[in-house]
Symmetry: C2
Subunit: 202 residues, 2 copies
């Protein structure tokens, strides 16, 4: 029909798939539903992806990258303040993202869980990318706030990802934003307690 470059066709299918999963769930994301969303004939999918499984693997990478970009852009307009306040702000921004587009985050979790069961290696790989980004953010935040972490940054990063996962899952099942905000207060306190004033900057 349109003679699109290979990579662009791949990208269109991937983004159509993300829309379908966000709207109707992973189990409804058949290749038929995806090509319909992308307004392509059925065959189109199978000459840029070997199989539905290969598409799903690409999707896991894709949504992980989207999350990574979202985190980084969140950090850009993070005002310098006390550590606790900065953590509160960052988590608050994430919560607002979640409230704005819950189905997107539901899709991320569905894909992660699918990966955790069927392709653990891949999902661990993507998790490692989150970990790297988070650790960098923690270091940048500490520098901005003029503090130092009292535990290894990569350990704190793992904990932070874990509580974020929990925040996401809990909010998605209860939709209780007020409780989530109180929980963020608790978390901000807990993580701020892992800092001390930076006594020297080399």
């Amino acid at each position: 029909m349109r003679r699109l470059p290979f990579d662009q066709r791949r990208a269109e299918i991937i983004s159509a798939a993300v829309r379908v999963i966000a709207r109707d769930g992973l189990s409804a994301a058949s290749v038929r539903a995806i090509v319909a969303e992308a307004d392509m004939p059925l065959g189109a999918l199978h000459y840029v992806f070997e199989s539905r499984d290969e598409l799903l693997r690409e999707l896991i990478v894709e949504v992980a990258n989207r999350e990574r970009v979202a985190v980084l852009s969140t950090l850009e307009d993070l005002p310098a303040a006390g550590v606790q306040e900065m953590i509160r702000q960052a988590l608050g921004t994430y919560l607002r993202l979640l409230e704005e587009d819950p189905e997107q985050e539901l899709a991320v979790l569905e894909l992660s869980l699918h990966g955790a069961r069927h392709d653990r290696e891949l999902v661990a790989e993507q998790w490692a990318i989150y970990h790297e980004v988070t650790a960098e953010a923690l270091q940048a935040g500490a520098r901005l706030a003029g503090v130092a972490w009292t535990r290894p940054v990569d350990e704190i990063a793992k904990s932070l990802i874990s509580v974020l996962d929990g925040l996401t899952l809990t909010w998605l099942t209860t939709r209780d934003s007020e409780s989530a905000r109180r929980h963020i207060e608790l978390l901000a306190g807990a993580f701020a307690a892992l800092t001390e004033p930076a006594d020297n900057q080399p």
Copy 2:
């Protein structure tokens, strides 16, 4: 074939379904796979459950109850100690459960996520049961440790459930028990910081 009482047949199907989902995932849990696991003819399912959806709803209730029972039995042999140590122990016991039977917990998450998307009311209902159990456990624990919570117990319970969800999801995707244990140390400290010595017992 066997002329089973209605409720017992329901129970057999439900427990077969749990086994299938734990072993092969929710998406593989077709009614055919479930009745095969239960060693029943296909028709059997449809005169005790109206549809696969009804079965899934029952399943959400069932696994929530199993979790509730597991939590309660965990609490029984909780030794009196300092709060922080008690929290550490309780979370450690949960982690061991998770390590022993990851696929069970994967199944719980798959069902929760399915519920979060397709039957939010039901899943919120089950979440409320967790919340109740957790709040009671927190109160019992504080009594045993001779401390009082400095925030409303039901607020702390919500936070605890949230971090537990996070612990579960993170461990299932990374299988990193060492990090999980370090994370538990952090959590035990954070929650212990929400207590103060109980000055009087009425």
